[in-house]
């Protein structure tokens, strides 16, 4: 049992600093350590034991244990173990040694913890505001339990502006976003350009922060949250839906019926199909190759139709409840789905062949946006980005969930670490996805879709779940709680880590390569800060200001 081996190693090395440990399953390990030792333990786990950094979670645990709780999550991919290094932080002036100097990938997560929960990462190299909006006052932390879900903080100041860093000397600043044709979500990159060459950038994102975690912890119930989780992403929503359900099931030690596991697998792979086809199309569009964009979307369309036939929706499948699924695959759907994947395989092969031979696309993508193995390790990059750099990680194989432990598939990798490799990885993963769907349809036995749950779920248990989204690992962390809802739910989407690698990937590249390097960001267009209404009868136009809109939104909600 590898989890126990790892625990023994840690105990030998750190002795009494390890307060207690919990091994709820052979692939999960929770280690509680002294606050003083947390940085050393994390360095040991990250550097010497070569674990992959996943996420840092801060939680306000004061109503239960009287302290704050911080979890640094790591993954031992080769050993199939997810580890959480936990520590209690005293409630007065909560602060904890930053691990971002030894684990660079923790940069964002620690800043987010500081913003939202108010636990200060002491010694953080770049402790700038990350998540909270510019107008938000200092010292107010929305994820604390004494902050109400719908509260507007005192001292909210709409006129306050974000202080950007000074650009390096000799560089012009080019604003990229918040709105840009290839960046269909509000995120802002300030690029420092020397001619057409990118010398650096500053990122200001989180412009459409929707407070989903707070909403879930405050007013929703266990079985409402999967539907909310699905709405985190417009492309890989089912991933979040499944990952959340699995995290709760793992915390409460529930076992989903096998047929439900196969159905989850099938819909996750359907989602991967549509996502990869969409991405390939968009990548072609970004480099100006619209013909392939159109072909990708034509081939993708039947995937959307079959998803609609199974779930009632092209996207947003509303698949999972805790302990089961809501949709069955009937024999008629099975036949049709087989037809869809066969057609898809047949149509996709010539596209892959055409792209593989295309000198023109290679010119635009080879050697562009390179993320070498060191960057993958340090920034915690996941998914096709990591696999295209020759790092063979895939949660479906490394941390099997749903029915993946019973299926045969290959983890597609490439070695050049550039955009071209990522394109190739994604294009070939389409064939693996169809292969998985065929196996599932073949092996699925009739049976129940839902585990009957009679008792209330136990409170205070922790659950981790990693699901391989089309863009990489989606990681959900849940602490179960009272009132039929979790105390803390933390979502880490793959883009959260991959985006942190972008500055290094685009440095010293041409501006023209910026968009294609950025290409793997999920489009999620959500916020507009003003709009104009025209009275059709009088033709009078009126522009609404940001303040008026906010007034309107708060008034009606």
């Amino acid at each position: 049992m590898v989890a126990r081996e790892r625990l023994t190693q840690l105990k030998q090395r750190f002795g009494p600093a390890i307060q207690r440990a919990d091994l709820p399953a052979e692939d999960r390990l929770f280690v509680f350590v002294d606050a003083d030792a947390v940085r050393d333990v994390c360095r040991h786990v990250f550097r010497e034991l070569d674990a992959r950094y996943v996420i840092t979670v801060g939680a306000d645990d004061r109503p239960y244990s009287g302290t704050y709780l911080v979890a640094h999550n790591f993954a031992f991919d080769r050993d199939h173990v997810l580890v959480s290094v936990l520590t209690h932080v005293p409630p007065e002036q909560p602060a904890l040694d930053s691990i971002s100097d030894v684990v660079p990938a923790a940069n964002w997560a620690e800043r987010e913890m500081r913003d939202l929960v108010g636990i200060e990462p002491v010694g953080h190299s770049y402790p700038k505001r990350l998540v909270l909006p510019d107008a938000w006052p200092e010292g107010v932390h929305p994820l604390r339990k004494d902050f109400a879900m719908n509260q507007v903080p005192e001292g909210l100041d709409d006129t306050r502006e974000f202080a950007f860093d000074e650009p390096p000397p000799g560089c012009t600043v080019v604003p990229f976003g918040p709105f840009h044709p290839t960046l269909d979500e509000p995120a802002h990159f300030r690029l420092y350009l020397e001619g057409e060459r990118v010398r650096g950038c500053e990122y200001r994102g989180f412009m459409a922060h929707r407070g989903i975690e707070k909403l879930a912890e405050s007013v929703m119930t266990y079985n409402d949250i999967p539907m909310l989780a699905e709405r985190i992403c417009g492309i890989c929503g089912c991933v979040h839906n499944v990952a959340y359900a699995q995290a709760v099931e793992s915390a409460a030690a529930l076992r989903t019926p096998p047929r439900a596991e196969y159905i989850r697998t099938i819909l996750l792979e359907i989602e991967r199909l549509h996502s990869h086809l969409l991405w390939t199309g968009l990548a072609c569009h970004i480099v100006g190759f619209d013909t392939l964009f159109m072909q990708c979307f034509r081939i993708r369309e039947p995937v959307m139709w079959i998803a609609e036939k199974i779930s009632g929706n092209r996207k947003t499948y509303a698949l999972c409840l805790i302990g089961g699924v809501r949709w069955d695959i009937t024999p008629a759907l099975k036949t049709e789905l087989l037809g869809v994947v066969d057609t898809l395989d047949r149509e996709w092969r010539p596209v892959v062949a055409a792209v593989s031979r295309d000198k023109n696309i290679q010119k635009r993508t080879r050697g562009v946006g390179v993320a070498d193995k060191t960057l993958v390790k340090n920034a915690g990059l996941v998914g096709p980005v990591a696999r295209a750099s020759g790092v063979a990680i895939d949660c479906r194989r490394d941390h099997p969930y749903a029915a993946y432990d019973r299926l045969q598939f290959d983890v597609v990798t490439a070695d050049d670490a550039d955009v071209w490799s990522r394109l190739m990885v994604r294009m070939h993963e389409v064939f693996e996805a169809t292969r998985i769907i065929r196996q599932c349809l073949d092996r699925m036995e009739p049976g129940p879709l839902q585990l009957p749950i009679h008792d209330e779920l136990p409170a205070g248990r922790m659950g981790l779940s990693s699901v391989e989204a089309p863009r990489g690992e989606s990681h959900h962390f849940v602490i179960t709680g009272e009132n039929n809802r979790p105390r803390r739910w933390r979502v880490r989407a793959p883009t959260y880590q991959n985006l942190q690698g972008i500055p290094a990937m685009i440095k010293d590249q041409q501006l023209a390569d910026m968009t294609i390097s950025l290409g793997s960001i999920d489009p999620c267009f959500s916020c507009t800060d003003r709009l104009e209404t025209v009275d059709l009868r009088t033709g009078a136009a009126r522009v609404w200001t940001e303040a008026e809109l906010k007034q309107l939104a708060r008034h009606t909600s």
């Binding site: 604003p175 057409e196 100006g288 190759f289 159109m294 072909q295 023209a512």
Partner: protein, 308 residues
Amino acid sequence: MTLPPLIPLAGAAANIAVVLLAAPLFEGLLRKLTARIQSRQGPPLLQPYFDLLKLLGKEDIESGETPRMQRFAVYLALATVLTVACLVPMGFPAPLDAVGDAILLIYLLTLAGICTLLAGLAAGSTFSVLGISREMMSMMLLEPLLAVALVTGAVHTRSFRLDTLLNGSVYASGGVPWSGLILLGVLLLSFQGFVQRVPFDIAEAETELMEGPLMEYSGPKLALFKYAQMSKLVVYSSLAVGLFIPWGSELGFPWAWLLFWGKVLAFVLLVTLVAATHARYRIDQAIRYFATLLAAALGALLLASCGL
């Protein structure tokens, strides 16, 4: 020219009218064919006319930094292209070929590029400035290509007169016209650049620069700029036909006329096919490509001066 002055003027008006009428049709054809290649239905053939009308009827918002220059740039762009249209034979001898020579033509073509520069400067945003810097870089290599072709013709025919030059002058050497054939190849390989289509629509690259120099244009002025771009496709095709494939122009009306438009159509189809099957080049890749072509063109000029 012994013709009374009215006839060239009427001819010029006719050329301008034909270009203005035909340009959106060719654009519509281009769109339809592109759609077919992409497994789409595509817009109706006449859609570009409707688009222009729609844009012309919209509110005229001047959002750039220097609206006066923006206005000037767009009028100049359309005017330049239409002036060139009067200097190029379109099934008939060019109506105004007596008023200027090859040097005027080269200047006018450069002026068309300058208009984009002015438009971008007037917009004053970072993206449009990046767009014009790209436009200028490619212009510096593209414009000489046409100039070299015209000068080669001049070397062969010992004349700068447009009616002589735009009649296949590049092949006018004795024996096998090596220089002309090289230049024909160069033109075919660089034609997308002249008409600013994929893979050389770098200055406007929607996905990178958000239309670059044009980003602050909307409504009627955008319509005029689009009109100028559509006309550019027709005018440059006519120019290429005159310089490189003039055969059949001696047949007389209507055959010469029909043949001419058939050849222009062939150019439009070529542009469509290339645009639909390529990804956009990066500016440094494009410049290297154009530089190679320019070297080949200069080689051809050298051959021409040796009488080949």
